[in-house]
Symmetry: C2
Subunit: 460 residues, 2 copies
């Protein structure tokens, strides 16, 4: 339990209205999107870099573990409190510190909501490309921790590609600055990208200098129906072999389509549709027809049932209706989804989805698969009843097989959700012992007492 001395020190550093150890608050901050709960000893709400530095020094002095947290919208337990830890919530750090459209950059506190960054950027004709599905509420800090991405990654890349520099506090309370303010810079080691994707285990990131791009003038969308997943994923391979880069290339398998049927958003799909691609292009109004024509040509092939295109806001929204209804619809298939975020080389996607179907079938499970196919990034959801112990066991066996298959195909454990608590037992299947021990020794330099987000990322 947190000592009275430590609690008093936190209160004195942050103010008593920023330090909570009541049962209700501790219960609220006991979980993220993973179906597990661990109550923290307290929850801190710093309002500035300096306050984060102060609380980190107190934690270091008292050897208190810290669990950094954005919106708690992660899928792998990254913000799940370690037992006996104190949650550091960045929710109150959401200021824009500087917006410099001429140099296409913005400096924000890391509690800022991702979509808000984009909104500010668009006010000056710019945009912030990373677009995680949780963009409306997730925080930049969480995006940095997990190197978040979304549909646009296929054309624009991931969070890592849009960070120029960071301000952060290490596990022993040292304040550091990484990177620079320019789009080029090779001065010292790239600690910026070392922190990105480190899941809050190396430092508490307080401020980020983000790179922005000119906002595309317009968007056009294709909804493409196929007779099978293999047909759709072969089309993805064809799209990725030609030169027009779509700004979204999303895949839904037949179980995803079944899941949305009750919502009505599948009503206008042609009969026999067993897989769906959402393909989007962006750019100049005058150039979009060319892009769409090239994409249509690449999509044409075996099993193509229908292509519908939309060029205005209303038509585009209607085409996306099926895909947008999916998240919610999946939750109605079963009380719990055991969720995976693996990546395989694009050319292996069709075989991989076959393997998932066979594995789910062999374990008497329903698997709903969809994802960012242009990056080979698949979200596999095994639909289960948490009270059915046998089904849960089968789900975990199936998931293990799926993850190991992704690795065997030359893939990776996580595309955008990160490792957290949920995947750390697989880490040494992908990373060799020498490299893993180097990562551990780097952790040691940032956080000598292992106070930052313990129990995450590394296997026990």
């Amino acid at each position: 339990m947190l000592s009275d001395t430590a609690l008093a020190a936190f209160r004195s550093a942050l103010g008593s209205d920023r330090v909570f150890d009541d049962a209700a608050t501790r219960a609220i901050y006991a979980c993220d999107e993973t179906p597990r709960q661990v109550e923290p000893d307290a929850v801190l709400f710093p309002t500035s870099h300096d306050e984060v530095a102060a609380l980190a020094r107190i934690a270091f002095e008292h050897r208190i573990a810290l669990t950094p947290r954005g919106a708690g919208s992660g899928n792998v337990g990254g913000a799940l409190p370690a037992p006996g830890s104190v949650v550091v919530s960045f929710e109150c750090m959401r200021r824009v510190l500087e917006f410099d459209p001429a140099n296409r950059l913005i400096v924000v506190e890391t509690g800022m909501v991702t979509d808000d960054v984009d909104r500010v950027a668009r006010s000056a004709g710019l945009f912030y490309p990373p677009d995680p599905g949780s963009g409306a509420y997730c925080r930049i800090g969480g995006n940095l921790a997990m190197n978040a991405a979304g549909p646009r990654a296929v054309k624009y890349g991931v969070t890592r590609d849009y960070v120029l520099g960071l301000r952060a506090v290490t596990g022993d309370g040292r304040e550091i600055r990484t990177g620079c303010r320019t789009t080029k810079g090779v001065t010292g080691y790239d600690l910026t990208r070392l922190l990105i994707g480190s899941g809050g285990t190396l430092a508490l990131i307080t401020e980020a200098t983000l790179k922005l791009l000119p906002a595309p003038e317009a968007v056009a969308t294709l909804r493409v129906c196929f007779a099978s997943s293999r047909d759709a994923l072969d089309a993805v391979s064809r799209v990725m072999r030609q030169s027009v880069m779509p700004c979204a290339l999303e895949f839904m398998d037949h179980r995803s389509i079944d899941a949305i049927r009750p919502t009505g958003t599948a009503d206008d799909l042609p009969p026999g549709t067993r897989a769906l691609l959402m393909v989007e292009a962006d750019g100049a109004v005058e150039d979009l027809p060319r892009q769409i024509a090239a994409l249509q040509q690449a999509l044409d092939g075996n099993g193509l049932l229908e292509i519908r295109s939309g060029f205005d806001r209303e038509a585009i929204a209607q085409l996306w209706a099926a895909r947008k209804s999916l998240s919610h619809a999946v939750k109605r298939v079963a009380p719990l989804k055991v969720n995976e975020d693996v990546v395989v080389p694009v050319s292996q996607l069709a075989d991989f989805v076959d393997f998932i179907d066979h594995t789910a079938h062999a374990h008497r499970l329903a698997a709903v698969s969809f994802g960012h196919a242009g990056n080979g990034n698949l979200h596999v959801n095994l639909m289960v009843h948490p009270d059915d112990a046998d089904e849960m066991d089968r789900a975990h066996l199936a998931l293990d097989a799926i993850i190991l298959r992704a690795l065997a195909l030359g893939g990776t454990l996580s595309g955008e959700h990160g490792i957290g608590t949920e995947k750390r037992r697989f880490l040494d299947r992908e990373i060799d012992p020498a490299t893993l021990s180097l990562m551990r020794s780097i952790k040691q330099q940032f956080d000598p007492h292992g106070l930052l987000n313990p129990g995450k990322l590394f296997p026990d």
Copy 2:
């Protein structure tokens, strides 16, 4: 001096035809593009990852410092041998280990010539975007060490953005693998980007998995003449505020133009030209006219004297003639150029070039400035006579002032050349003590005895 035992061990590991300690070889490998020479004790030419691992273990056992080297074409002494060190030349490691066009990747040994990577990629309709000026002879390993870039960086980014994974050997002979084979992946710490830009001080990189893009169908070029540097750089700011991203946005100041006059390549510039921009667009043939029109509109403004455009190979080559003749022509201005590679925010470029001109004038020096203006990356060359001690002193004073000004403007020490021996004394002007000490402690984890490229990157 290298002991006979160590020499024998290297010979036994690599073969005697791969280990040279004769005076002629040691003299050849005593320098890179910086005007200094330090003879190594020997030069090793490993032919595979395994041989690099073997030589690193021998060096570790005998505590021999290693100086990794690609083509020796660096500008900051990155491949300048440390006294008593052994050069590890990657010149004989230039194999393509795997070429996978379907997944847009290539795996190469790090001694491969940069342009050769691009050539292989183009054979399948792809390309490798980083295009350092030395691409015809520099090696991928050197590009990785310095996070190299070139004109295309303004649109496509730098080396860092095209590396999916690495294979490497640490300073104590451990073999590591970093990253993955897919375009998304957040599994463990990003050691890939930690190694990129580390100047050979963390590990010997033996193999790289590089990301490729679809090759643009066509290119179109504008040569744009202005009455002053400020006019040209204001135009650069306007270009970077609109949405058509050029694939080159190169600047030459009036002294650069004076330098090329003897070559005849300035003959067709309109009278009064005191600054030149080279602006290039790439993409689909059918979309280039739109891009060029948008760029021309952005370029139009104060001091614009002439825009010439080229759409075919011959016309484009003619427009580039002035810029291409510059490197060679600069060498005739004075026996030595003291060369800088700094970056400032794009909006500060005009003021910065003014400052350079005033500083050079105040120190009675000629400064030739050109560079990748779209990234704010300027190459400043102070033209000097190395035998004139007073002039050399003035040059170093002026250079110090220029570097510190770049930092004061929110810039960074190096855009693409790296730190090496030449800039390490400035490192602590940009990087604070806490961050720098963290970098040193990371170095320690990779290279506990400081054997990898000693005397580079870090200040004494």
